[in-house]
Assembly symmetry: C2
Homo-oligomer: 448 residues x 2
């Protein structure tokens, strides 16, 4: 049988990985797929650069639309990135009856509803294993491996850049800015790292996992997104003393009134496997009713790990595209006509526990005032850590404006609390004259 | 569309889990599968016990062959276990044109070649996610998630009973027999635990993973199998001091001249995630050329975790059985006509590193003699740990038969060595008059 014909729209880091791995492992891949998989054409505006990668093994064109218009192409792989042109090309490929593979999490998290509907209507597959956690087959696990289950929650380290930075901050006691510089120097962070460090990339990914886990449409605009730029070395150290590590987590959870969808730094108990995922590695923890807890770990980025996921999608399509489209594995795990309208909850409705750090005047009654205020708000305290004034070495301006007043850090861990309740309590505490600086609030996830 | 009709051959722990989870999550499962999945009939010799589980929701028969003969049944789930009747029924179901799901690792590891060939000839699917690592979708990951890769090796904690026992031995300093009794009392070990503690169950599972990873036939008879019954609390303690934990691993590896296939206890660096998989949990580590290292973790046994895997197979078959059989996901990941004849290597050809414990007379020259002998055999030493005689508190019979000679434990870690070479060296060391007891040899896997 003729090999299935693939066209790559864009060939850079990931595309060259796809080309190289397909070439290197062609024999094994064909033995698995029952049919050859051939990159017939690639597009890149600078055709010389594309030619340098593929040589004479594939047609090289400057205009991606030539690939879409080619009737011999069965599968189009979109590796251009971004929302604009990529969206147009994916929709055009679908309209032309091509199956689509993409690693573009941003595109799917924002325009997924439109794209998946178009693919459903046209009867083609859209596969995107590479969009979440790189080479880890987490989309497959959620969409196919755990189909028996009512999934309860997912918590993942799904951005390698931020996990690398947090690992460096902890290992070496570095502040955020220094660790970021280190990550940029080593190539773990881009020159403009905004999408990573502000949590946006992780939010794209958890949005996709949320849709697959709970059978809801992709709703990136409803996600709560908080990055790691405000974390200090001090918080990482205090967390460590309390038996926790701080990780940037993408979390989605089935709550009583809807779905939680959020990205933020979180304290995780040090003994959890997830807390021990270091450097640029990714891991996703899934809690589901029948199987219990499962965890998936591996490289979340890089040319060949990402190519591994793209090619797995190509093999999947080769194996499955002839199946009855009414049952064939749906892009979002649930059949398109069976999505749920469970709402994504506003962050104020989320229930979790908290780490609070208050910079307070080191004087009698402060602890009693703060804990009394929390008690009044119905917030239950799990642990308190108060440092001696000299331990943090601080003297500053007292509540009445006098200088030379001893200060200290007061650390409080709470039990589960509604975020809205915590917001109100923080506002009240912040207004106390003995609270000298903006309160640090980091959420805490026991993951039990 | 009419729900796909399923018959369970045998309904005990796993079967009742399948029934319960399908019932509880029917709505979500149908939304995923695009079609209902209905248990239409179950068989159990004691029909009253079966009736107590399924009530009026399914037909109950005493004779499994009635289910196979039923033309309305699309998928047969074999949950009887063992090799004899289970083999006959699976082959009969295939001959009758039914797709088959089974959790029976022993059956497939021993009779897989016959069963998969029959299924291929008849054009039906045989799925067995539940046969390896319970609810962890590791078969799916290997067969579908990592299809781009040339897999290099797999190392797994794939027997919960032995991992529980080893965790107890380490945590509480227990000897094997005591920890086994504890595991039996808590229901983690069966009354006759032989298959678990001797490594046979793990060998069945790694045999299946090996076939899927490397595209070779299932060859349980070629596996090297060593259990945990000879491990002592002392070895676990020494390993800990050297920075390792001892785990029962199922390992399969692509070597230069063939495939390694082995189950034995192994020292694993304490910092590896795999070393930190505790209690009855399972985890599988996979090294592959494109994706690098990935790890899969979860419950390896139990009614509902196993049911989760069985139902995932039911959904898979529902989604995929209409696809072209020539490309449709093959049972063993590779197309049946594309298997490799790579040999499974005899254990003497395996290359790994070693932990050796020698009980020696505590006298001058012993260390020099032993290390000289290893050097002569071309075995390179990584580390040596020699205890003071009083640390192990031992006095015994000396090499010349005199009593009251101080003894000590000499621990040696080696670099990579061919097992055959190590066998010879151990025989030579054992013959030394200063080596007073049988030498303990435990393999060491760096998993890097």
């Amino acid at each position: 049988m003729k090999p299935i014909q693939v066209g790559l729209l864009g060939i850079g880091t990931v595309g060259s990985g796809v080309f190289e791995v397909l070439r290197r492992n062609q024999e094994e891949i064909t033995r698995r797929a029952g049919r050859g998989i051939e990159i017939a054409a690639v597009s890149r505006r600078d055709t010389a650069k594309a030619r340098a990668i593929v040589g004479d093994a594939a047609e090289v064109v400057a205009d991606a639309r030539q690939i879409i218009a080619n009737p011999d192409i069965d599968i189009v792989v979109e590796l251009i990135g971004g929302y604009g042109l990529a969206r147009e090309l994916v929709l055009e490929a679908i309209a032309a009856g091509k199956h689509v593979v993409t690693a573009n999490k941003a595109l799917l998290a924002v325009h997924g509803t439109e794209i998946f509907a178009a693919a459903h209507a046209r009867g083609v597959m859209v596969a995107f294993e590479a969009a979440v956690a790189g080479g880890i087959p987490i989309i497959k696990a959620l969409r196919e491996g755990l189909t028996a289950n009512r999934i309860q929650w997912i918590a993942g380290i799904i951005n390698g850049t931020t996990n690398f930075i947090l690992s460096e901050m902890r290992d070496k006691g570095l502040d955020f800015a220094v660790a970021l510089g280190e990550a940029q120097r080593l190539g773990y962070a881009e020159a403009d790292p905004t999408f990573d460090i502000e949590g946006v990339d992780a939010a794209h990914k958890v949005t996709l996992m949320s849709a697959i886990a709970f059978g809801i449409p992709v709703q990136f605009d409803k996600a709560y997104v908080e990055g790691i730029t405000k974390l200090s070395a001090a918080d990482i150290k205090y967390a460590e003393q309390l038996g926790y590590r701080i990780k940037l987590l993408g979390i989605t959870k089935r709550a009583e009134k809807g779905i939680e969808l959020r990205v933020h730094p979180a304290l995780v108990p040090s003994k959890r496997l997830l807390a021990n995922v270091e450097g640029a590695m990714n891991a996703v923890l899934v809690q589901a009713d029948a199987v219990g807890t499962t965890l998936y770990y591996g490289k979340g980025a890089g040319s060949e790990p990402t190519a591994s996921a793209v090619i797995a999608d190509l093999v999947d399509i080769t194996r499955l595209h002839t199946a009855n489209a009414a049952q064939r594995v749906p892009s979002l795990a649930f059949q398109p006509d069976a999505l749920s309208d469970l709402p994504v909850l506003p962050m104020a409705e989320v229930v979790t526990s908290y780490y609070l750090r208050l910079r307070v005047a080191d004087q009698a009654g402060v602890l009693a005032t703060v804990t009394g205020l929390l008690a009044g708000a119905g917030i239950s305290i799990d642990a308190v850590l108060q440092r001696e004034a000299d331990e943090v070495g601080g003297e500053g301006t007292g509540p009445d404006g006098t200088r030379g007043v001893p200060q200290t850090d007061l650390i409080i861990l709470t039990h589960d609390t509604r975020e809205g309740t915590m917001n109100d309590a923080i506002a009240q505490m912040q207004a106390l004259p003995t609270v000298l600086e903006p309160i640090t609030r980091i959420r805490k996830e026991e993951l039990a």
